[in-house]
């Protein structure tokens, strides 16, 4: 009875001929692909294939020596993470980057940072705009908490939580920014089967409920094949495959490089 009808739109992020090198080390070589609106796009590849570098390029942390990135029709030059965030792109990290000593609630509130406009003074003495904004932003954060079912740890310091929940809190913080595009760096790494299933469900729910475009890096082939609309495969910094999960699964180059050559 469940009829999923997500409308996948036109390409909103286009990467063309991206090359990135650190000194003599070529991290990415001539990579082109695009991301369409509302889709779940996976980037896979063996260790060191350049997946995280790719994400960092999109995020504006790394600046490729060659190639162009077009986001919603505008070519991006000299990006930095701050401006990326302002454009509605949020991310999570492979090795959790939360404030361990702060509560879950406060951590997620930091995701609303860009939505707050009150000045330092206003916030310090808690008047006018600061107060109004805090209430409004707290409401948004509570919606995310409800969405990801983490009410019971709202006031728990993040450092005391198990790994799987910390990952979920990180996703919550990214969601709090109300992104139109979400970059997830190995969201299921190090999780047990049940935690992975939960995380898959949340990723799908986010995509379905908010229509958020999702770019994710993942190791677990099963997960990727189950939830992605299209998959890019990298190996040694080169693109060796691109297409829907079935196409990628049957692509000989991918089978050889990623799943191993039969001897």
């Amino acid at each position: 009875m469940r009829t999923v009808e997500r409308k996948i739109g036109a390409a909103i992020l286009e990467l063309e001929h991206i090359s990135l090198a650190f000194g003599g080390v070529k991290a990415l070589t001539d990579i082109s692909f695009d991301v369409r609106e509302h889709e779940i796009r996976a980037i896979i590849g063996p260790n060191g294939a350049g997946k995280s570098s790719m994400l960092n390029v999109i995020n504006g942390v790394y600046h490729p020596q060659q190639g162009t990135i077009t986001y919603r029709g505008t070519e991006r030059r000299d990006m930095d993470p701050h401006r990326t965030a302002a454009q509605g792109i949020a991310r999570t990290f492979q090795n959790i980057a939360l404030f361990k000593g702060m509560s879950v609630l406060d951590n997620i509130m930091t995701g609303r940072n860009l939505k707050m406009h009150a000045t330092f003074i206003e916030q310090a003495i808690w008047i006018g705009r600061a107060r109004r904004e805090e209430i409004e932003n707290r409401r948004k954060v509570e919606e995310v908490i409800d969405f990801l079912e983490i009410q019971h740890i709202r006031k728990t310091p993040v450092g005391r939580l198990p790994y799987g929940l910390q990952k979920r809190v990180e996703l919550a913080r990214a969601l709090a920014a109300e992104p139109s595009m979400l970059l997830l760096d190995e969201p299921m790494a190090g999780m047990n089967v049940e935690e992975k299933q939960d995380m898959c469900r949340f990723v799908l729910d986010v995509n379905e409920q908010y229509g958020t475009t999702i770019v994710l890096i993942e190791h677990d082939m099963g997960v990727v094949m189950d939830i992605s609309d299209r998959v890019v495969v990298l190996d040694y910094g080169r693109k060796i495959g691109d297409g829907n999960p079935d196409e990628v699964r049957n692509n000989q180059a991918v089978i050889d490089a990623y799943l191993g050559v039969a001897h």
Binding site: M1, R138, R139, I145
Partner: protein, 650 residues
């Protein structure tokens, strides 16, 4: 109160009139407590009732209600009753297959459920339940693309339209209700055979609510946390019948995981929990105290010693010395007060527990720190209302005096018989069962064996049919033994065997939280429940518990023969999903005896180790195998005291 206030929908209208702005329900939503007044509840219920009517629901029909405690689900009960329909709450954690029987038995056509999880279960059950047609859900999340199900808001919108088109309809429907109409159908947990639908009239639940309210002087200013399954008679009495009768406030927690936090925030004045909840709380407190610094541990131990000595006497208003009073006041300042606050019990005036026996240490702990914890006795068939413990005369091993309006007598074979306005009208479609359980004089057979003590308080020993005899002829009450074992925090469940056997043997389930913590503290490594359960150190720990129980049993001449001779620790937790426990977590002894026959043979056959493989069902319906070699241990038993031997030989 007005003589006209004899059905729940009329009581609702009454509250909307006399205390319209008084809070009726609260629920935490998006981190903030939302409040609905009695007037608002009346408006919501009216819209919902009219919505149901617009969909064809009417007099005599059954409305399934499934979900966690939420104001909207309680309103659904009132809405069904307003139309002369009968709400049928069901256990929300049961898998779809378990719903099928009840849905068919009650010929359910309409269901109001909480969320996507429950909708999915309803849709799964639908092919096997031809009558089921209308499903209404409360939380819309994830349900956007479902066809053929209706949102709660949409149903209410329909209702408001219907209400405008049919002025006076709602009032007329409420006026048509009679006190002897069935107000709710609660399914018994099925310790014995298939579940039976217990039909309770408005009059029965109102009589029970009135009696309880008078007994404990409840007022509209009381407030209670509603967190127990809505299908359970206890919740229906405390969070529904007494709520609508007295007009106090119910508070629904944010989610099952936040109950403790919500309890602290609300600070209810009136509280009801099965012994298990009190047990878990105490276990947590104990574990956290053991992790505290030595100075805190020391203050805690000292204060608790004072509380044990004089706490209960102070609560009961008995005279005690000035020195004790001063020491207790100090303890109250340092430990009891803050502890009550942490437990969310600072404002509690009356707390009840029921459903299973409560350990004396556990019971004394709460009473000694100033929480007025009492016991009651009742069942689904009696609206959970037979005996109540009065303030000032509370004993851990009795369940109190017969409640106002209730007659209790003991049959010749020891069975407890009760009569009063709170008795069930009938078992649904089971005249045979109804006739069997109510005798010619109108007394209901509770199926419990009990006796009155010197103060006229009722003492329940066991299920009447479970009381057996050893081959020596000595009485054997398995529940009594199991409860004694379960009073140890390390033991979660126990199952005793002995009827028509030469001696008593037992299965034990360890408590993962408590024993796990104990093992960590001692540096005992373990990989899983099964692994931990079979550790020699754990066996030693359990053995000490068993031997302590034996020592206690040996004191009682009638029960000295029931000492546990041999035991084993089970490799898996007994689970309602595997049919080993009922949904209210009572052990199904005969089912377990059949399922684990090989283990029982090993216990009585003198073996020291036995291999077993068991099929387990996970929550999502998948199955798996658990295999283990179980060790079997002997426990030391004590000779019966000379007086007992004399008594036996007589």
């Amino acid at each position: 109160m007005d003589a006209q206030l004899d059905t729940f929908p009329r009581l609702l209208l009454h509250h909307a009139q006399v205390r319209g702005s008084h809070p009726a329900c609260r629920e935490k939503d998006l981190g903030i407590w939302q409040t609905w007044t009695w007037l608002e509840v009346a408006v919501e219920v009216r819209a919902l009732a009219c919505g149901l009517a617009a969909k064809g629901f009417g007099r005599g029909m059954h409305l399934a209600i499934i979900g966690d405690n939420r104001p909207r689900l309680y309103w659904s009960m009132l809405a069904a009753q307003a139309l002369g329909g009968i709400p049928v709450p069901m256990y929300q954690d049961a898998p779809a297959a378990d719903f099928v029987f009840v849905l068919n038995d009650a010929e359910i056509a309409y269901a109001v459920v909480e969320d996507q999880e429950q909708v999915d279960k309803m849709l799964e059950a639908m092919p096997q339940v031809p009558t089921l047609r209308h499903i209404c859900y409360d939380k819309p999340r994830g349900l956007r693309n479902y066809d053929g199900v209706l949102a709660f808001d949409a149903l209410q919108a329909l209702g408001r339209e219907f209400d405008r088109a049919h002025p006076g309809f709602y009032e007329a429907e409420v006026a048509r209700g009679r006190p002897d109409d069935v107000s709710v159908m609660l399914y018994t947990s099925g310790t014995t055979g298939k579940a039976k639908g217990v039909c309770q009239a408005h009059a029965a639940f109102i009589a029970s609510a009135r009696g309880g309210a008078q007994f404990d002087r409840l007022t509209p200013d009381d407030s209670i946390l509603s967190y127990l399954p809505m299908a359970w008679v206890g919740d229906h009495l405390f969070s529904f019948a007494q709520w609508v009768y007295v007009g106090f406030t119910i508070n629904c927690p944010e989610s099952g995981d936040t109950v403790m936090t919500d309890l602290r925030e609300i600070g209810p004045t009136y509280y009801f929990a099965p012994p298990r909840v009190f047990e878990n709380l105490l276990t947590q407190v104990t574990i956290r105290m053991e992790d505290a610094s030595w100075i805190k541990r020391r203050i805690y131990r000292q204060s608790m010693a004072v509380a044990r000595r004089c706490g209960t006497q102070i609560l009961d208003g008995k005279p005690i010395g000035t020195a004790d009073r001063v020491e207790y006041a100090l303890g109250n300042l340092l430990i009891y007060g803050p502890l009550r606050n942490v437990l969310g019990m600072s404002r509690i005036r009356v707390a009840y527990t029921a459903g299973a026996a409560i350990g004396p240490d556990l019971f004394r702990f709460y009473r000694s720190i100033g929480i007025n914890l009492k016991q009651l006795y009742g069942s689904t068939e009696t609206c959970a209302y037979v005996c109540l413990q009065p303030d000032g005369a509370v004993k851990f091993d009795s369940v109190g005096l017969p409640a106002p309006g209730v007659e209790v007598k003991i049959a010749n074979d020891g069975e407890v018989l009760v009569r009063g306005p709170m008795l069930l009208k009938e078992y649904y479609k089971r005249p045979d069962a109804t006739a069997e359980s109510i005798d010619g004089d109108g007394f209901f057979r509770t199926g419990d064996a009990g006796l009155f003590d010197d103060d006229g308080q009722l003492k329940i020993i066991d299920r009447a049919k479970d009381v057996g005899r050893l081959t020596s002829g000595a009485m054997y009450a398995p529940n009594y033994i199991e409860n004694k074992l379960k009073f140890f925090p390390h033991i979660k469940e126990a199952v005793a065997f002995g009827h028509q056997r030469s001696e008593v043997c037992a299965f034990v389930n360890i408590d993962m939280g408590s024993v796990g913590n104990w093992a960590e503290r001692r540096g005992i490594a373990y990989s899983s429940y099964t692994d931990l359960a079979q550790k020699p150190e754990v066996y030693q720990l359990v053995k000490e518990c068993v031997e302590q129980v034996n020592a206690e049993l040996a004191h009682d001449p009638a029960l000295a023969g029931s000492q546990v001779h041999r035991f084993l620790v089970l490799h898996k937790e007994l689970d309602p999903d595997d049919d080993e426990l009922t949904r209210t977590r009572k052990v199904r002894r005969s089912f377990i005896a059949d399922k684990y026959a090989v283990l029982i043979d090993a216990l009585y056959g003198g073996r020291t180790v036995q291999h077993i493989e068991t099929l387990v069902k996970f929550e999502d319906g998948r199955t798996g195998m658990v295999a283990a070699d179980l060790r079997i241990e002997n426990a030391m038993t004590h000779a019966a005291p000379p007086a007992a031997r004399a008594a036996q030989s007589r």
